[in-house]
């Protein structure tokens, strides 16, 4: 078909947005008219008002995408943001899924505009709606996830990011989406001070399969080192499933952090401070200085925690000496903070200047605890079932069987052969 005019396209849209076959037909037509739409981008604004986004979603989408990909239109239109938000809120999910790339590109230009205008907070809710509409299941990762998390980070609305992060992700369309998603996820968790979750996210980044090193993994590894130190006091070795690219190359790009980890292991405060001072600019340029400061304070915490294992009561002066703090006053403040955070169980007797350490009062006898254990068991059983079914599925896969067949040991003729012959 020759290049149709925009009016004709609009008419098609209005006519063919009824049933599913009509929509499919419309889709084909629209794909062919893409160039026409793009060339007339400036005029499209007016036509958009003729269409109803909830019914004519697909058509609206195509027009909107052509419109938003034109930079001039983007700049001039004051209502650009509003119109996209409206569209996202009212569009129909099935029609969107027919042309996901278009939807994603619309959302991306939305995100760019929001960032340009420096109001990232405005983009959060719309993008979340967009994600929910685009996802086939809550286990799927879309490209929009990382954009969403980026906006949450910029707007410092970490809690908003949590709602998306809490979903378990099992399906990934594009492997490279995962890197950014997990990296931003790690950063959000760091912002919320839930270091365990942050560690998990960053761990996923560095152990993801990769054939070439990418910058995201390097940055993630830097943060991973710092978070590992805060959590466990040391950096674990690479697990065996880490890609060889990562294992070979990550360390060479993150030398100052590795030095910091080694310094921490020796345990003296002065040395650690010295190490931080020497690498100060590097930490600052990576914007990791806040985390590094937390590493420093975690050293005190670790020393104090070690004391709880050895002593029942200890004077504040002794705590100050053991943890290399300057005055008993500082020791008292640290201990108080740790008690409030629930990291140790103790009571401070100010009259004597003594701290008594107690055992963990958790007796594991309450109803709440029983429920927690019960729900964990159920969740884990579901997970392990999933794993089992995945394994079964894969062992029926022809490609796998062919491969196994080639490498199987040769048995005698009448012995049971593990692979059916049709796969050889």
């Amino acid at each position: 078909m020759a290049m149709e005019s925009v009016e004709a396209v609009v008419a098609h849209i209005q006519g063919l947005s009824g049933s599913q076959e009509e929509v499919a037909h419309l889709h084909a037509l629209l794909k062919q008219s893409e160039d026409a739409l793009r060339s007339q981008a400036a005029r499209l604004g007016a036509f958009l008002h003729q269409l109803d986004p909830s019914v004519h979603t697909l058509g609206y989408l195509f027009l909107l995408e052509a419109y938003s990909s034109d930079p001039v239109c983007r700049e001039q239109d004051g209502d650009f943001l509003l119109s996209i938000v409206e569209f996202i809120n009212s569009c129909s999910a099935e029609q969107i899924r027919l042309a996901p790339e278009k939807f994603i590109s619309v959302c991306k230009s939305f995100k760019d505009k929001v960032m340009q205008l420096q109001v990232p907070i405005q983009g959060i809710v719309p993008l979340r709606t967009a994600i929910r509409k685009l996802q086939v299941s809550s286990e799927q990762l879309t490209t929009l996830h990382s954009d969403y998390l980026l906006l949450c980070l910029l707007a410092k609305c970490y809690k908003a990011g949590l709602s998306i992060l809490d979903d378990d992700i099992f399906e990934v369309d594009q492997p490279r989406d995962l890197f950014l998603y997990c990296y931003y996820g790690g950063m959000i968790n760091i912002g919320l001070k839930s270091y365990r979750k942050a560690w998990e996210c960053l761990h996923n980044v560095i152990t993801a399969p990769m054939t070439t090193l990418n910058a995201i993994a390097v940055e993630a590894y830097k943060k991973y080192i710092l978070v590992s130190i805060i959590l466990n006091g040391q950096v674990p070795l690479f697990p065996k499933y880490t890609s060889s690219t990562a294992q070979r190359n990550l360390k060479s790009h993150t030398q100052p952090y590795i030095d910091l980890a080694n310094c921490y292991a020796t345990g003296t405060f002065a040395e650690l401070e010295g190490c931080i001072q020497t690498n100060l600019e590097k930490f600052q340029s990576d914007s990791n200085l806040g985390l590094v400061k937390q590493v420093l304070s975690s050293l005190y915490k670790r020393n104090i925690q070690r004391l709880t294992q050895t002593y029942l009561t200890l004077s504040l002066q002794d705590i100050a000496n053991a943890a290399q703090l300057k005055t008993p006053r500082e020791a008292e403040m640290h201990v108080l903070q740790m008690i409030q955070d629930g990291e140790i169980f103790a009571t401070i007797n100010q009259k004597d200047g003594m701290v008594s350490f107690h055992e963990d009062p958790e007796q594991y006898k309450t109803c709440g605890m029983i429920e927690h254990i019960d729900s964990s068991i159920h969740r884990l059983m579901a997970l392990s079932q999933k794993l089992g079914s995945l394994d079964e599925h894969m062992s029926c896969d022809p490609a796998y069987l062919t491969r196994i067949g080639k490498e199987r040991p040769r048995f005698d003729f009448d012995e049971f052969d593990s692979v059916p012959h049709k796969f050889l």
Binding site: D168, I169, F170, E171, V172, D173, Q174, P175, L178, E200, H203, N204, T207, A208, P209, Y241, R306, Q309, T310, Y311, L312, T313, L314, S315, D318, D352, M354, F357, E359, D360, E362, Q363, Y364, I373, S376, I377, R379, L380, L383, S384, K386, L387, L390
Partner: protein
């Protein structure tokens, strides 16, 4: 002057040699020597004469040189060097002679200067003997009589040993192995190799050849057996396997007597065995194998301090036990095999004492404990902290009241905690695994798509 200075019982032989040297020459160094002996330290001063009298052969010289190097006391050093010099002159080792002379540096006066004529004579003699032996060996080899070839290699090795060329001696002893026909020959060969290896400090070979010797089909005579046990014990000691070393020394029979003085003295067996067992055995083993061991008692009689300190340890008289240890320390630091293990053994024994002390109690007052161990409360607290952190003592310190409370972990809580932790880790790992699987699947689909 000679007899009165020794703090320990002196064997008669010591007196005579002292007299013969002292009387003949007006030696200016005599006053410093005797005052040096008395002045160095409050504990019993090492009596070089008695000490060296326990050994024969090359080890005498090695030990004297070691003492000279380590004692840090000029008088004693000179004394040791002088005795080494005399010992060497009786033998054929010109290299060692030159070494000793160099170390002396003329401080012993004109009588102890380099005697070049003696050196030359010894070297010439050695050359001649070597040629003779080698010719004999060659003739035996052409005759192909196993026994004579073995004897030939043996003689050559003995010669090298006497002349101080330990490496060649070792090689030749090993070569006799191919010509050994009876198990007696084998055990003799093994013992020779062991001797040279100990001198060379190569304890790997020592353990190898001990096991070789013990594998002979015939029953070894008890003396050889004891010798092999001692050698094995020394090898274990060197490789810091104190428990095994202790066992070997404790199994040494009294038949050892004075038969192995070119390596080890009976007093050494007692000391090494006693200290290693104290540092590494637990209480029942200590009672069975050491205190109730009749054979080992004979050895312990020779070194009453070690016997006393083991008994004190067992009876929980820690203060006196530690005191004995401190008194023994300076002499042990001069022992050629034990010196670098003294610190470790002592720390182990001290830790064991502390652990044993706290074991039966629910609460212990740190003041009384510090008194029992002759240390300050602060120091004791530090030691306890180290032991608790290493999980050797299950207790907690109440620093305010200075009491140590025993603490038993609550198994139930610990189990719950572990279970929950395992669950969390499992979940995390499986989720990550499922995601990675998916990623790899996507990659392979991508790659397959590209191929098509």
């Amino acid at each position: 002057m000679d007899g009165g200075d020794e703090g320990v019982v002196v064997a008669p032989i010591g007196d005579e040699s002292m007299c013969s040297n002292g009387g003949a020459v007006d030696d200016p160094r005599r006053p410093p020597a005797s005052s040096g002996k008395a002045a160095a330290g409050g504990g019993e001063q090492m009596d070089l004469e008695a000490y060296v009298a326990l050994y024969t052969g090359r080890t005498r010289v090695s030990r004297l040189l070691f003492v000279a190097e380590r004692c840090g006391n000029e008088g004693m050093q000179l004394e040791a060097l002088r005795m080494a010099h005399d010992e060497i002159k009786k033998g054929e080792d010109s290299h060692l002679y030159r070494e000793v002379i160099a170390k002396t540096g003329g401080r012993l006066g004109p009588l102890y200067a380099l005697d070049q004529t003696w050196v030359d004579m010894v070297d010439r003699r050695a050359e001649a003997r070597k040629e003779k032996l080698e010719n004999e060996l060659n003739s035996y080899k052409t005759n192909l009589i196993k026994e004579s070839i073995r004897m030939g290699f043996n003689d050559l090795a003995n010669f090298f040993y006497a002349h101080g060329q330990l490496g060649d001696a070792f090689k030749n002893y090993v070569r006799t192995r191919d010509y050994c026909t009876s198990s007696k020959h084998i055990s003799q060969m093994c013992l020779n190799v062991i001797l040279v290896s100990i001198e060379l400090g190569q304890f790997m070979h020592v353990s190898n050849y001990v096991s070789k010797a013990e594998q002979t089909p015939e029953q070894l005579d008890p003396i050889t057996h004891s010798k092999l046990r001692c050698a094995a014990g020394l090898a274990y000691l060197e490789t810091k396997k104190y428990k095994l070393a202790a066992r070997k020394f404790l199994d040494t029979g009294p038949e050892l007597g004075n038969n192995y003085t070119d390596v080890i003295a009976q007093q050494d067996v007692a000391t090494y065995g006693g200290l290693c067992s104290l540092a590494s055995f637990d209480r029942p083993e200590l009672k069975n194998k050491v205190i109730d061991n009749i054979n080992f008692r004979n050895f312990l009689e020779l070194v009453p301090e070690v016997r006393e300190l083991i008994n004190d340890f067992y009876a929980s008289r820690y203060a006196s036990c530690l005191e004995y240890l401190e008194n023994l320390k300076p002499n042990l630091l001069l022992d050629i095999h034990l010196h670098d293990h003294v610190e470790t053994l002592y720390t182990n024994i001290r830790h064991k004492a502390i652990i044993q002390y706290t074991h039966p109690f629910i609460s212990v007052d740190l003041h009384t404990m510090a008194g029992a161990f002759k240390t300050s409360v602060a120091g004791l607290e530090k030691e306890l902290e180290v032991l608790i952190t290493d999980d050797k003592i299950q207790a907690r310190i109440d620093s305010h009241n200075k009491i140590l409370y025993a603490r038993h972990a609550d198994q139930r809580n610990a189990t719950f905690q572990r279970v929950l932790q395992t669950g969390v880790e499992y979940e995390r790992d499986v989720r990550a695994m499922l995601m990675r699987t998916n990623l790899i699947k996507q990659e392979s689909i991508l790659r397959a798509a590209k191929k098509l």
